[in-house]
């Protein structure tokens, strides 16, 4: 039996008692994972925009410096926007955590291997880009450490979580982007945000 972490256990643990944590989910499995943990007004799951999840997190983190922002995304999605690691590291947002659920696969398209299955070290790249903290997460104890760091807001934090390339039933969030945007803004900024 695989000793790898299970992605939905990891996400559920990171989001338990989440308080006012702001969460971006990269397209595909991470969007299903955050919805599996419980659909939430302060979730912004992506249905597209591949390569953009980390940058969305940066814009949000800069706009809301007092709130913690967590981007949960996949290895394929992160690989498409590697330049964002440099852009984020330069801005030094202490309240931003990028957590890559790395199953070494493009899960939505037939489980083809990504670069990380062939040695690409995403945490190493984040470190070289200048992230204040980088972590490789492989065990349950590592997950607990990661959770503490996310909620401590001592970033910018980048974590590469090695997870089982299991096939799981999809858990779909609403897919109307305007609804997702407006409910997030209303929950974060108050109902007046809808009149701006």
């Amino acid at each position: 039996m695989s000793k790898l972490l299970h992605r939905r256990d990891v996400v559920k643990a990171l989001l338990a008692q989440r308080g006012d944590l702001l969460v971006i989910g990269g397209l595909g499995a991470p969007a299903w994972d955050i919805t599996h943990a419980g659909d939430h007004d302060l979730n912004f799951p992506l249905w597209g925009a591949m390569g953009g999840a980390a940058m969305l997190g940066l814009g949000l983190a800069l706009a809301q410096p007092k709130k913690k922002v967590l981007v949960l995304t996949g290895d394929g999605e992160m690989l498409m926007g590697l330049g964002a690691l440099a852009t984020i590291a330069v801005q030094k947002p202490r309240n931003l955590s990028i957590v890559v659920l790395d199953n070494e696969r493009y899960g939505e398209t037939g489980m083809q291997e990504t670069h990380t299955a062939h040695g690409t070290d995403l945490a190493g790249m984040a470190k070289a880009a200048g992230f204040a903290r980088t972590l490789k997460v492989k065990t349950q104890a590592d997950v607990s450490r990661l959770k503490k760091r996310i909620y401590a807001g001592e970033g910018a934090l980048f974590a590469q979580v090695k997870v089982d390339p299991e096939r799981l039933p999809l858990v779909l969030p609403p897919r109307d982007g305007s609804l997702l945007k407006n409910r997030f803004r209303a929950a974060l900024l108050g109902p007046s945000a809808l009149h701006q």
Binding site: G48, L60, L62, G81, A84, V90, G177, K181
Partner: protein
Amino acid sequence: MKKTAESAWPDEVHALLKAAGVRQVAIVPDAGHARLIKLCEKDKAMRVVRLTTEEEGVALLAGAWLGGEKGVLLMQSSGVGNCINMLTLPIACQFPLLMLVAMRGDFGEFNPAQIPMGNAMQAVLEALGVIVKRADAAKDVTEMVSGAMRLAFNTYRPVALLVGQRVLGAKDFRKLTQSVPQ
């Protein structure tokens, strides 16, 4: 010395953006935006975010809006090509997005490599559903930025204002082989 229309627009546009509460300024530089970038960098109310590629700015500013901040994306026309797929995010989710695009491959261009994107860009943006406006005279830039900004933030959609090469002046590569500008 009083500034002429040719030189005043970057200062006016900076003041306009500031008054509208624009806080995040995402850039991949173009020579045509050089003065505006400098003004934004000096402004403590603004955060200049250097991008490695323009589509990062599209995603950044969607995140900014989620968090209650306005932004602007400054880029060269060639960078529009890099943004195409990411623009589906503000279109599908109705995020406001203000893009100020300094044209290349336009009036008096020297470099053949700039032509394909410079020429195709407006049609490509419009095919996606981005609203495109153009300023081809320095005296019009500020007013056009003002209109584009209101369109973007009042109607929740991406709007590109193209600042023509006739305003910015075509780069003279032959002259640059003779001397380095100071």
